[in-house]
Amino acid sequence: MSAVASTMNNDAILKVEHLSMRFGGLMAINDLSFEVRRGEITALIGPNGAGKTTVFNCITGFYKPTMGMICMQQKGGKSFYLERMADFEVTRDAKVARTFQNIRLFSGLTLLENLLVAQHNALMKASGYTVLGLLGFKSYKDASKEATEKARYWLEKASLIDRADDPAGDLPYGAQRRLEIARAMCTGPELLCLDEPAAGLNPRESQELNKLLRSIRADNGTSLLLIEHDMSVVMEISDHVVVLEYGQKISDGDPAHVKNDPRVIAAYLGVDDEEVETVLTEVEEGAH
């Protein structure tokens, strides 16, 4: 496990080191270190209350961690310490976008408008911080057209193009999930963080989602970090899995490795601490 991590050190896009987050007396994350590698799909899994979403909120700037360091390494070589940045700066400057466990769309805006809001910063610059746009300068019109094209590209990719002019709140659940991912992608991220993207989806929608996530990685070169409960999704699409329990990392490696890790099995099946030893030996015997 540690050997794998050290060989991949140079192409890490996100390094989380000694991250701790304390809420009053509760240590939600305790000295967590892991890496997300460029061009890979990394899954963060663990039982309920393991601290997965807290890790996400720390990475995306919604929480300020009590201790530790989160370093984002961009393609161009620039690096950002995310724990020092405000939430909107994480997306704007460090190029880390996120979605939410309970979908947060702008339900009264149309699908197209949702995707245009996501391109706020680029459009803001093109509109001369509103002044030139208000005077009707051409630069804004061009940028606006470009933004619409980008939105169209993502709507097609998320197979939502027929509903482009409908309000986002009118979409079925699975489509809302895809729209939220498309919207996050419109910010032009290098790392996309997805909080339970498959939650509440039926198997067919789940397949569509897998296809979308794979194509995001392949066509757009975006690395993905996702929290997921649905093991079929995790095992099928992820290249690398990090397992959390009680705020600590208990396993880290490729899906096959993690699946057979006795500590993971113990965590998911709920074995007492004393029994872990027995499970460990059992698994080892089975392997031989």
Partner: protein, 461 residues
């Protein structure tokens, strides 16, 4: 009484015959029911004896009323309602081709407003038209402008602002003080008043950035009161409750509207009248309103406007998309306040007098109710609501004939708030999203479809 009728008789006979039968039956029932209640009244005579006073006249009126009412109901109202229901059921999917008026509503409305003063002048003459141009025209347009300004803060950005009148006051006092003390003209002070109000908007914006919903409303309310109390108590500058009078009038590129030799009337060889100034003011506020509308419509299609609406829908999602919500909120406060300041300086110039009386909380409440009644975010709806609320108030003053009904002490405008309240409650029941409940999208790929009000949020911060 409809339940009394035997259902078997419904199908027989012509509608008029049926109506006659039912009306007669109703009249008989009414007579029987009211003969003892209304027809006879117990009273005491001079010798303290109980006597019966017959009231056959009143009984007859009631019976006739019941007869006529039932007849009209069965003969005309019921068939008409059934027919309209059937017509609706027959053609439910026919796409309503928007009529000429509907398609060009805003253009026609602007044309009507431009033509309003000459038509009124032609109809009522220079002196008689003052009331219609000043009380109805200018007064309503000031409120339209204020409500459109507040609409940016409340309707688009979803920030509930109960102290909007503070910016109106800042604009009015900026004009009053700077023009009296330094002699600046209206045309310099109009943008200056806007900038000063925007500045105060940002001052208010900073402390309330962290507040949401009810807390935000309370702090903005307090801010409005603070400004008013400062105006009352800072007597060296504002002259307190006495107010500032003698505020210079607006000039048309240096041409004053007075009876002097180089005044407007003399230069254009017109009969001297105060109507010219009012007409000029009318067109000025109309221009300011159109400017507000133009800027609002443009802003909605710019990233900042979209960010406001996104902020109303979900602030956390906004931040996750890299939008700086602090500057977004502050610009909403500042631009909304700026239009309040414009309206304020116009108000001061039109009245020639400002005092803290004009900037009480009730004004904020009225402006906010116009925004809510019109439909948050919709310029057309808000304009209609302003006409209904402010024009309605002015109309109440005109209803002198009610004195003949309720006696000479009756002053209809005192019932203004009662009628406001009733109208608001009725609106909330009938159209909870205001006159125009749907939202027009700012961009579209294939087809512009209005977003139903059930999807949009009111905002909570």
């Amino acid at each position: 009484m409809a339940s009394v009728t035997n259902p078997s008789t419904v199908s027989t006979g012509s509608p008029t015959g049926k109506a006659l039968r039912e009306a007669t039956f109703t009249a008989v029932m009414t007579f029987l029911m009211f003969a003892l209640f209304i027809g006879l009244k117990t009273d005491q005579n001079m010798r303290n004896e109980l006597i019966l006073v017959p009231r056959w006249g009143m009984l007859a009126i009631l019976v006739v009323l019941a007869f006529v009412g039932r007849f009209a109901m069965v003969a005309w109202l019921q068939p008409w309602r059934a027919a309209s229901k059937a017509a609706k059921a027959e053609a439910p999917t026919v796409d309503e081709e928007a009529g000429f008026v509907k398609r060009n509503f805003s253009k026609l409305a602007i044309l009507a407003l431009v033509l309003y003063p000459p038509i009124i002048l032609a109809l009522f003459g220079a002196q008689g038209s003052l009331k219609y141009i000043d009380n109805f025209g200018i007064q309503i347009l000031i409120y339209v402008m204020l409500a459109w300004g507040l609409n940016i803060v409340v309707g688009l950005a979803g920030l509930l602002d109960l102290g909007y009148v503070a910016f109106y006051a800042v604009g009015a006092y900026s004009y009053a003080l700077l023009s009296i003390n330094f002699g600046f003209s209206f045309w310099i002070l109009l943008p200056l008043a806007g900038i000063l109000s925007a500045f105060w908007g940002i001052i208010l914006g900073f402390p309330v950035l962290r507040l949401k919903g009810d807390y935000l409303a309370i702090v903005t309310l307090a801010f409005g009161e603070i400004i008013r109390l400062v105006l009352i108590n800072w007597q060296d500058v504002t002259k307190g409750t006495f107010g500032i009078s003698g505020i210079p009038k607006i000039t048309l590129f240096g041409i004053p509207f007075d009876a002097s030799p180089n005044g407007f009337a003399k230069i254009f060889h017109l009969a001297p009248s105060s109507a010219y100034y009012k007409v000029f003011l009318f067109y000025l506020i109309l221009l300011l309103c159109l400017l507000t509308a133009f800027v609002t419509i443009r802003l909605r299609r710019l990233p900042i406007g979209r960010a406001w609406e996104a902020l109303r829908e979900d602030e956390i999602a906004c931040r996750s998309l890299g939008i700086n919500t602090v500057t977004t909120k502050l610009t909403a406060f500042a631009i909304g306040a700026m239009f309040g300041g414009f309206a304020g300086s116009f108000f001061a110039a039109r009245q020639g007098f400002v005092s803290p009386e004009s900037f009480v909380f009730l004004e904020s409440a009225v402006i906010l109710s116009i925004v809510v009644l019109g439909g948050m975010g919709s310029l057309t709806g808000i304009a209609i609501a302003a006409i209904a609320m402010v024009g309605g108030t002015e109309l109440l003053r005109e209803m002198d004939f009610l004195k003949a009904v309720f006696g000479p002490d009756f002053t209809p405008e005192l019932y203004r708030m009662l009628i406001f309240g009733l109208a608001m409650i009725t609106m909330m029941l009938v159209r909870p999203r205001g006159f125009v409940g749907s939202r027009e999208p700012t961009a579209f790929l294939f087809e512009r479809k209005n977003v139903s009000g059930s999807f949009t949020k009111e905002g909570h911060g």
